[in-house]
C-alpha cells in the first residue's frame, strides 16, 4: 500500500464510530453497560440507550458520581463505558478516576469525545489539550486515541477485551475515513502506514490524516517517510518506534494536544532510553485554544499539514 492509495471520499466523525461500536458491543456482550453525563446525543450513545434501556444510566451533569457509579458497576461483573466530553472525562474527575478506577483496578472504559482543538466553536473551556498527559500518568491506565471513524469503532470493540481501565479519546468533526471496518485493531500495536528511510513521522488521532497528506507532499520532494500511527499511547509500541527511528535517525511527532505530556513526550521517552535521535514536535505550544472552525484552529495553533512538512525538514536538518 502506498500513500497515494489513501483517497477517502467519505467523512464521518470519530464519535459516531464510538456510538456504532458501543451499540454493536451491546448486542454482543450483555455485561456491557453505559453511563452518560447529559451528552447522549453528542456522544452518539442514543442507539445503545434505545436498544438496551436497562443497561444505560443517565448520570446527569454529575461526572464525579458517574465515574464512581461505573467503578461500582464492575463489582458484579459489568463492563461500564462512561461518556462525556474529554475535559469532563479527565480533569474534572481526575481524583475519582485515580482512586476509584485506576488504583482500585476497575474495568471501566472512560470514553471521551470532543477532545482537542477540533471541538471548535465552544472554545478553550471545552477544548482539553492536556488529557492524554493526565491519563498517561495514571498507573494501570491504557490510553487510546484513534484516527478515524472505523478505527474508533474497532477500538471501541477492542477495549472490551482489555481487562482494566481504558481512556478512549475521540472527537467531534467530520474527518476523512481512511481505515476500514475489517482492519485489525490491536491495542498497543502501531499501524505502519508507509515505508520510507529518510524520516519517521508518528501521529495519533485526527493528526494521522494530516500526516498522510504531509508525507505525500514530502514524497513529491523525494523525501521518503516512515509513517506510524500510534493509536495506543499507553502501553506504547516501543518496538515499532525503535525499528523505524533506528533506520531513519530522526522523527516528527504529531498530535492534537499540548506539547507537554502527550504522544511526543511518550515517544521522546522511548528514544531517550534506547536510541536518542533528533525529534520535532507538532503539537499545541503550551497554550489554551479558542473559538473557531476546526481547520482554522489547527492552522492557527501550528497543527496544519504545512507545519508537519516544516517540522520534517527541521528534523532532517538535525540528523
Amino acid at each position: 500500500m502506498s500513500l497515494n492509495d489513501f483517497n477517502p471520499n467519505e467523512k464521518k466523525d470519530t464519535r459516531s464510530g464510538f456510538g456504532a461500536g458501543l451499540h454493536e458491543l451491546g448486542k454482543r456482550d450483555d455485561r456491557v453497560v453505559a453511563l452518560c453525563a447529559d451528552l447522549t446525543g453528542s456522544l452518539k450513545m442514543n442507539a445503545f440507550a434505545d436498544a438496551f434501556p436497562d443497561r444505560f444510566f443517565q448520570a446527569g451533569v454529575a461526572e464525579a458520581n458517574m465515574i464512581g457509579m461505573a467503578a461500582g458497576l464492575t463489582i458484579g461483573g459489568k463492563i461500564p463505558y462512561t461518556g462525556t466530553f474529554a475535559n469532563f472525562s479527565t480533569g474534572r474527575v481526575y481524583d475519582q478516576i485515580r482512586q476509584s478506577v485506576a488504583y482500585s483496578q476497575k474495568n471501566v472504559k472512560i470514553c471521551a469525545s470532543h477532545a482537542g482543538l477540533t471541538l471548535g466553536e465552544d472554545g478553550a473551556t471545552h477544548q482539553i489539550l492536556e488529557d492524554i498527559g493526565l491519563m498517561r500518568m495514571l498507573p494501570n491506565m491504557c490510553v487510546i486515541n484513534p484516527a478515524d471513524y472505523w478505527q474508533t469503532y474497532n477500538a471501541t470493540l477492542a477495549i472490551n477485551e482489555w481487562d482494566g481501565p481504558v481512556y478512549l479519546r475521540f472527537g467531534r468533526p467530520s474527518w476523512p475515513m481512511f481505515t476500514t471496518k475489517d482492519q485489525a485493531f490491536e491495542i498497543g500495536k502501531a499501524w505502519k502506514i508507509n515505508d520510507g528511510s529518510d524520516l519517521t513521522i508518528i501521529a495519533t488521532g485526527h493528526m494521522v490524516w494530516y500526516t498522510i497528506l504531509a508525507a505525500k507532499e514530502l514524497e513529491n520532494h523525494n523525501i521518503k517517510c516512515d509513517v506510524l500511527n500510534i493509536h495506543t499511547i499507553k502501553p506504547i509500541d516501543e518496538n515499532a518506534i525503535l525499528d523505524s527511528v533506528s533506520k531513519t535517525k530522526c522523527v516528527v511527532t504529531a498530535e492534537e494536544h499540548n506539547r507537554h505530556g502527550g504522544l511526543g513526550d511518550a515517544v521522546a521517552q522511548v528514544l531517550a532510553m534506547n536510541f536518542p535521535a533528533p525529534q520535532e514536535y507538532v503539537a499545541v505550544n503550551d497554550t489554551f485554544g479558542e473559538s473557531g472552525k476546526p481547520a482554522d484552529l489547527l492552522k492557527k495553533y501550528g497543527l496544519d499539514v504545512s507545519d508537519i512538512v516544516a517540522a520534517s525538514k527541521r528534523a532532517l536538518a538535525r540528523k
Binding site: 453497560v33 458520581n65 463489582i75 459489568k78 485515580r98
Partner: protein
C-alpha cells in the same frame, strides 16, 4: 441479650486492636475508629451476609460493604480479621512497609474483604450506587452498605450521589453517616456546618433512620429494621450519633484524637479501660 453481650465483648477486643495498631506505628486515626466500633461489630456480627473464607470481588449473592471514610481503616481491618477474612496476626503489620494493611484501604494489595480503595473522601456513595445497580441487573438480592464520616459530607460528590440514588430508585442500599460532629480541624459545626442533615436527606428522597451508634442494642435493631425497608423504592440513610474516641475516656469529647496516635503511657491507660475478651493479636 446474650447476643448483645457477646457483641459488646468483641467490640472491646476490637477497640484494643485499634489502639494497639495505631500505637505500634505512631500513626493512624483512632478517634473515628473507636466511635464506629459498635457499628462494625454489629454489621459483621449480626447483619451482613458474607463468606469470609471465600472472598470474591463480585460478591454474587452476598451483601457488600464499602468504607468511604477510609481513614478509619483500623476498625475495619480488626473487624475483618476477627471474622476470618485474614489472619489476626496480620494486624501487627498495619501501616508498615510491604503490608496489605495500608494506611487507607486498597484493593492493590488484594486484602480479602476490600473491594474499593478509599481515603480521598466522598467517593464511596457513588461506588455503592453502581454496585447496587449491578446487583439489580444481576437479579442479586444482596444489599450494599456504606459508611461515611460527617466531615466527608462536605464533599460535593456526596450530594451528586444523594440526588442520583433516589432518581435511579436504588432500594438495596443502606448508607450510614458517623455523625460525631468532629473532623480534623475541629467541630463540624465550626469548620463547615451541615445544617439540618435529616431534612437534607429527606428532601433528596431518602428514607432516613437515626440510631445511637455507641449503644449496641440500638445499632443492631436499627440495622435490622433498615433491612426490612429495602425493596421499597428508596435508598436508606442512617444518621448514627457516635462519640469520637468512644471507649477510651481521654480520647472522648474532643476532635484532637482524629488522627493522633497514643504514646506508650497513653496506650497503657487506654488498654486499662478495654477488657481483653477474645485475645490480643
Amino acid at each position: 441479650m446474650s447476643d448483645i453481650k457477646q457483641l459488646e465483648q468483641l467490640a472491646s477486643q476490637i477497640r484494643r486492636d485499634i489502639v494497639r495498631m495505631v500505637h505500634s506505628m505512631s500513626s493512624g486515626h483512632p478517634g473515628g475508629s473507636l466511635g464506629c466500633t459498635d457499628y462494625f461489630t454489629a454489621l459483621y456480627g449480626e447483619v451482613l451476609n458474607y463468606d469470609s473464607s471465600n472472598f470474591d470481588m463480585d460478591a454474587k449473592g452476598e451483601d457488600v460493604f464499602f468504607l468511604s471514610n477510609g481513614h478509619i481503616s483500623p476498625v475495619w481491618y480488626s473487624t475483618l480479621a476477627r471474622h476470618g477474612y485474614f489472619p489476626i496476626s496480620e494486624l501487627s503489620t498495619f501501616r508498615q512497609i510491604d503490608s496489605r494493611l495500608q494506611g487507607h484501604p486498597t484493593t492493590a494489595e488484594h486484602l480479602p474483604g476490600v473491594r474499593m480503595a478509599s481515603g480521598s473522601l466522598g467517593q464511596g456513595l457513588s461506588v455503592a450506587i453502581g454496585a447496587a445497580l449491578a446487583k439489580r441487573l444481576n437479579r442479586d438480592n444482596g444489599i450494599v452498605y456504606t459508611l461515611h464520616g460527617d466531615g466527608e459530607l462536605q464533599e460535593g460528590q456526596i450530594w451528586e450521589a444523594a440526588m442520583s440514588a433516589p432518581h435511579h430508585k436504588i432500594d438495596n442500599l443502606i448508607a450510614t453517616v458517623d455523625f460525631n460532629n468532629r473532623q480534623i480541624d475541629g467541630d463540624v459545626t465550626d469548620v463547615l456546618s451541615l445544617g439540618d442533615l435529616k431534612a437534607k436527606w429527606l428532601a433528596f428522597g431518602w428514607e432516613v433512620l437515626e440510631m445511637e451508634g455507641n449503644n449496641m442494642e440500638s445499632v443492631v435493631s436499627t440495622l435490622k429494621h433498615a433491612k426490612t425497608l429495602c425493596g421499597k423504592g428508596k435508598p436508606i440513610m442512617i444518621l448514627m450519633k457516635t462519640e469520637m474516641g468512644a471507649g477510651v475516656d481521654f480520647m472522648m469529647g474532643t476532635h484532637k484524637w482524629h488522627g493522633v496516635a497514643p504514646n506508650d503511657e497513653q496506650l497503657a491507660q487506654a488498654l486499662e479501660k478495654l477488657e481483653e475478651t477474645v485475645g490480643d493479636y
